[in-house]
Symmetry: C2
Subunit: 235 residues, 2 copies
DNA sequence: ACGCGCTTGTGAACGCGCGCACAAAGTCAG
DNA sequence: CTGACTTTGTGCGCGCGTTCACAAGCGCGT
C-alpha cells in the first residue's frame, strides 16, 4: 500500500486506486516545455466559458499533435473522461499546480535597459501566476525610478529582495551578465533566466535557461539562405 | 559528376575528392541552432587575436560538448587541422556563409511597443550580419517616430519595405499577431519570428519560429517547484 | 627522415521523444 | 439493460540527437 513509483505495465489493479492525487512521476522535459502552452490555451477556453474539451480540440488550439497532448497530460496524472474529454477548470488547476504557479513565486529582474523595461512592462509576461516583483540595476542613476509600478533598486540590494524560491532574470549587457549571475547565486537564487548573449557558468544545483534573441534570427537566416540556394538550383 | 545530394553511407571514395567547397549536405536542425553560438565564441576569440582553436577549447567557450562541436562542424565541411585545431577566421567565414550572414539580409519588425523598442535598440541584436531594417506599427500615432535610427512606418506600408529574403519579426500584442502574420505572408515574407504569445498559423512554405518569454519563466517555475517539493520530502 | 604526441573526424551504441494505431473505458439513446 | 459511439490512455516502432571511444592525420622535435 505504500505509494511506490508507477511501473510500466500499469495493470488495472493499480488504476483501481484513484485516490492518489500526488504521483511523483518524472515528467519529461519536453512535456514540461509544453505545459505552459496548454495552460494558455485552456485559459482562453475558460474565458469562453467552455466546460470540457477533447484532446483533439485542445491540441489544435495549442498547435500540437493530439496523441502527444494526451501523453503529456497522462504524465501528470490528471485524467480526462473517456468519451467526453478533459474538464477545463480541473486541468488548469492541475497544470498550474504542477508548474508551481499556485503559490505566486517571486521573480527578480536585473538590468533595466531596453530589454529589462520591456520585460517589466510585458503585461502578460506570465499571464497568470508569475510576475516580476523587483527591478534592479547597477546604474545608480536609475535607482528610485518607477517602472511598471515597481521602484528600481540598486543591484547591491539583491540579497534583500531575494526570497527562497525566487527566480532571477538577467537582462543586462553581456559584459555584466556573469557578475550579476554570481551575485544571484550568492543570494540564494537557484533558477536563472538569462537574456544576455553570453555563456554563463553556474554551480550544478542552479537551473539556468537562456533566451537568445539573435540566435533565433540567425536560425531563420539560415533557412532563408537555404531557400534562396534551392531556388538558384531550380532556376 | 552532377552535384547530387549526399547519401548516408559516405564512402571513402566520395571523400577522396577534397575540391568540393560546396557540399550540399543536410545540416541537422540541432546543429543549425548551435552554429550562432559557435560564431559568437569565435568572434570573441578573433577579437583576442587568436589564430587557431582546438575543439576542446571552443566547446568550452560555447558551453557544449567537444564531440558534439566536432560533429557539428564536420557537417558543414569546414575541416580543421588534426593536431592543431581550427583556424578561427576561416571558421567564422564558413559559419557565416552557411548561416547566410555574408550578404546582409533584411529584417522588418512589426510592433513598436515595449518589446519592439527593446529589439530595435538591441545593439548587438544580431552582432554581425543581421540588423533591423524597418520598423512598422499599426498605431498611426507612432508613425514617423525615430527609434534606433529608423523611422517608424505604418504597417500598411509593409509591401514597400519587404524585399525577397526578408525576415519578419512580430512583436505585437497577441491579439494582432495573426493579422500581422498574414500581412507578412501576403507581402512575400517566408521566415517569421514571433514574440507574441499566440499560436500562429502559416502556409507550409513559411518558416515560423517563436520566442515565448513567459514560457521560459514557467519552465523555471516548474523546476523551482520541484526543488521545494524535494526539500519537503527530505526534511 | 621518422616516430611521437596531439587533435580531428566518425562509427556505433544508447536514450529520448514523436506519432500511429488500438484496446479500454466511459457516455448516451432507446 | 444493452449496444453503439466517442474519446482517452498507451504499447510499440522509428528516427534524431548525444556521447563515447578510437582510428586516421598532421605537425614538430630530433
Amino acid at each position: 500500500m505504500t505509494a511506490r513509483r508507477q511501473e510500466r505495465p500499469l495493470t488495472t489493479s493499480e488504476l483501481a486506486e484513484p485516490r492518489v492525487p500526488r504521483r511523483r512521476e518524472v515528467i519529461p522535459e519536453a512535456t514540461v516545455a509544453r505545459l505552459p502552452l496548454y495552460l494558455r490555451a485552456l485559459h482562453a477556453l475558460a474565458d469562453d466559458a467552455t466546460q470540457t474539451i477533447s484532446s483533439e480540440a485542445l491540441a489544435e488550439a495549442a498547435g500540437v499533435n493530439s496523441a502527444k497532448l494526451r501523453k503529456d497530460l497522462s504524465h501528470l496524472g490528471s485524467y480526462g473522461t473517456r468519451g467526453v474529454g478533459y474538464d477545463v477548470q480541473h486541468l488548469i488547476s492541475q497544470i498550474s499546480r504542477e508548474l508551481g504557479l499556485s503559490r505566486r513565486c517571486s521573480v527578480v529582474l536585473v538590468g533595466v535597459g531596453n530589454l529589462g523595461r520591456a520585460l517589466a512592462g510585458y503585461g502578460g509576461f506570465a499571464s497568470r501566476g508569475l510576475g516580476i516583483d523587483a527591478l534592479l540595476d547597477a546604474d545608480r542613476a536609475l535607482t528610485g525610478e518607477q517602472i511598471a509600478g515597481l521602484t528600481v533598486r540598486h543591484v547591491d540590494d539583491l540579497a534583500e529582495v531575494v526570497v527562497p524560491g525566487s527566480i532571477g532574470v538577467i537582462a543586462t549587457p553581456a559584459s555584466a551578465a556573469q557578475t550579476v549571475c554570481d551575485q544571484l547565486v550568492r543570494a540564494g537564487v537557484t533558477s536563472i533566466l538569462n537574456f544576455a548573449p553570453t555563456v554563463l557558468t553556474v554551480p550544478a544545483h542552479v537551473d539556468l535557461r537562456k533566451v537568445d534573441l539573435s540566435i533565433e534570427l540567425q536560425i531563420l537566416s539560415f533557412h532563408e539562405h537555404r531557400k534562396s540556394l534551392a531556388e538558384g538550383v531550380t532556376a
